[in-house]
Symmetry: D2
Subunit: 90 residues, 4 copies
């Protein structure tokens, strides 16, 4: 039984992010120019935001929609509250 | 001659971020609950923001201040424009 | 028949925001110190974000939940897509 | 003697923002569709961000540059710290 939607299409992006983080460590270690380091950090941050939005979208389409359609009012409220907590930090 | 300020105090944070990104890949591969994955992504995003601010601060204190104090108006404007470009994407 | 949830509890906050915006215009006209103006702008921005989150939350609890529970798959997808568009700009 | 840079070119934008805020109050009072209200709030937020960036830019070009060029190390550090506090909240 599969409980949660798969997010494996994000693995490639997350591997690229990991590579970029290692690249930034190298730039820092080699004392590269601050602005070039900062540009790289902003690029990684934007990539992470895309993955976040992608997973959130699938979560709403699957888990939240199922909970809303389900019979348990408690489960529905739990899912909605989780979403609201995530939105606060976006 | 050292041209740019050192940011090596950020290496530890960047290694931790790298570890977290690998942890997120594992969570995705193991089909963990979306909300737990999203919480981890938001935590990495916040850690990256802190490193970004840290490096930006040192860059302003060093490179920008030096350019402003320096004799070259072109160099000063270049540094200020770089900062404004970075701020646009923050 | 009332179609949409009421958001009238936000009117007080929106009036306060309007007053703050007028205050900022006055600060600019009177040539006040930039940092004091900027602090006020950031405070208004945070207040607007709170209203935005408040209305979004009620919209999800009402319109989206109703559309998901409803019989029309088209209506459900429309509501979910609207939410995803809003999240992109948050 | 003029102490601070003028930001009067922002008055027009701030008046437009004020008008938009009043428009949003009307939308809320008339029970308009949540997503239309939210789209307007996001548009005002983006307009405010532009004014904020505009004033911050002028502040750096004037006050900060002057403090850095000045003789007082205390004044220079004060200006830089003010900037860092503002960046934290951006």
């Amino acid at each position: 039984m599969k409980k949660y939607p798969e997010h494996k299409d994000n693995i490639v992006s997350l591997r690229r992010v990991e590579g970029q983080i290692r690249g930034i460590q190298k730039m820092v270690a080699e004392n590269k120019y601050c602005v070039d380091i900062l540009t790289q950090i902003q690029s990684v941050g934007a990539a992470l935001k895309r993955v976040e939005r992608h997973i959130l979208q699938k979560h709403i389409e699957n888990c939240v929609v199922n909970a809303v359609k389900g019979k348990s009012a408690i489960e529905k409220d739990k899912k909605l509250n989780e979403i609201f907590q995530l939105l606060k930090k976006m």
